[in-house]
């Protein structure tokens, strides 16, 4: 950068440019929505398919795929250089940390509360986390994803387990994958 007298317009351009470059860091987080979105979508669709085939251990898709996500997240966290700490990053870490713990509590009690109800609760939690994320990032597709998952709660709770599983699959697609790809498309270039 040169050391010279700036015009006011140049000052504003520098400010805008740097803020856009800073925003690019948000694009790097889209990978989390994509990885978990695909894992959840495949697990849900897989479980649905296994149930249609009357396979007794249809839930095995979750048992196989979710730990893969957990291992990935662990190594991703170690690998990713935390070079910046934005205001929103702390809030996002808190939201998704709370989501993960809440989800684990629900799933740990799935046999007691029945899996259809557990899946319905999952949708409420997904809706909460994605909506709040969208609000923090000021990113509407995530907020819409939140609304979608909340609406899918009705499909899950008022029908049966098969529809609850489908609701999870739709939620993964609409609340994670679509916003994830849009986030990557919008901010990924500046990262």
């Amino acid at each position: 950068m040169e050391q010279r007298e700036l015009t006011q317009e140049e000052s504003l351009n520098i400010i805008s440019s740097m803020i856009e470059k800073a925003k690019g860091q948000i694009g790097r987080d889209s990978i989390h929505y994509l990885v978990w979105g695909w894992l959840g979508f495949v697990a849900a669709i897989g479980q649905f398919a296994l149930r249609m085939l009357d396979f007794p251990h249809h839930y095995i898709t979750w048992i196989i795929l979710m730990p893969i996500g957990g291992i990935w997240a662990f190594f991703q966290g170690r690998k990713q250089q935390k070079r910046t700490m934005g205001y929103s990053e702390k809030a996002m870490a808190a939201i998704w940390g709370a989501f993960t713990f809440s989800l684990l509590i629900v799933l740990a009690n799935g046999f007691i509360i029945q899996w259809q109800v557990a899946y319905a609760f999952m949708l409420v939690l997904v809706g909460l986390a994605t909506y709040v994320s969208g609000a923090i990032l000021d990113f509407t597709p995530l907020k819409i994803g939140g609304y979608l998952s909340w609406a899918l709660f009705a499909l899950a709770i008022y029908t049966n387990l098969d529809y609850a599983i489908l609701a999870i699959a739709i939620s993964m697609f609409g609340s994670y994958l679509i916003p994830g790809y849009l986030l990557k498309a919008r901010y990924g270039k500046e990262a």
Binding site: M1, Q8, M18, K21, A22, R83, M85
Partner: protein, 96 residues
């Protein structure tokens, strides 16, 4: 009457550094170097000027046995940046 712009911020690299920190709250030295494209020496000199004015803090430490320098914006820096932007807006609105 045109407000005088803060001379500390009315500089290309210092303004760029402060703009990044206003957005992110804190970042490390390689990030600033990558985003501004400035030389190492220039970043150090300009960052020190901002630190001496209380606009940012500079924390030096180690990460995985490598030296690490973290810049964090300070309340005085945020205030100064806000006033700078408002002055810019006033100037541009007055000139339209």
């Amino acid at each position: 009457m045109e407000k005088k712009l803060d001379p500390l911020l009315h500089n290309e690299l210092r303004l760029a550094i402060m703009s990044l920190l206003v957005s992110l709250k804190s970042c490390d030295y390689p990030f600033i170097k990558e985003k501004t494209g400035a030389t190492s020496g220039n970043i150090s000199i300009q960052a020190q000027k901002l630190r001496d004015a209380g606009y940012l803090s500079i924390e030096k430490g180690f990460k995985d046995n490598y030296p690490q320098t973290i810049y964090k914006i300070q309340p005085a820096g945020l205030k100064a940046f806000e006033e700078y932007v408002n002055s810019l807006k006033d100037y541009l609105e007055g000139n339209l």
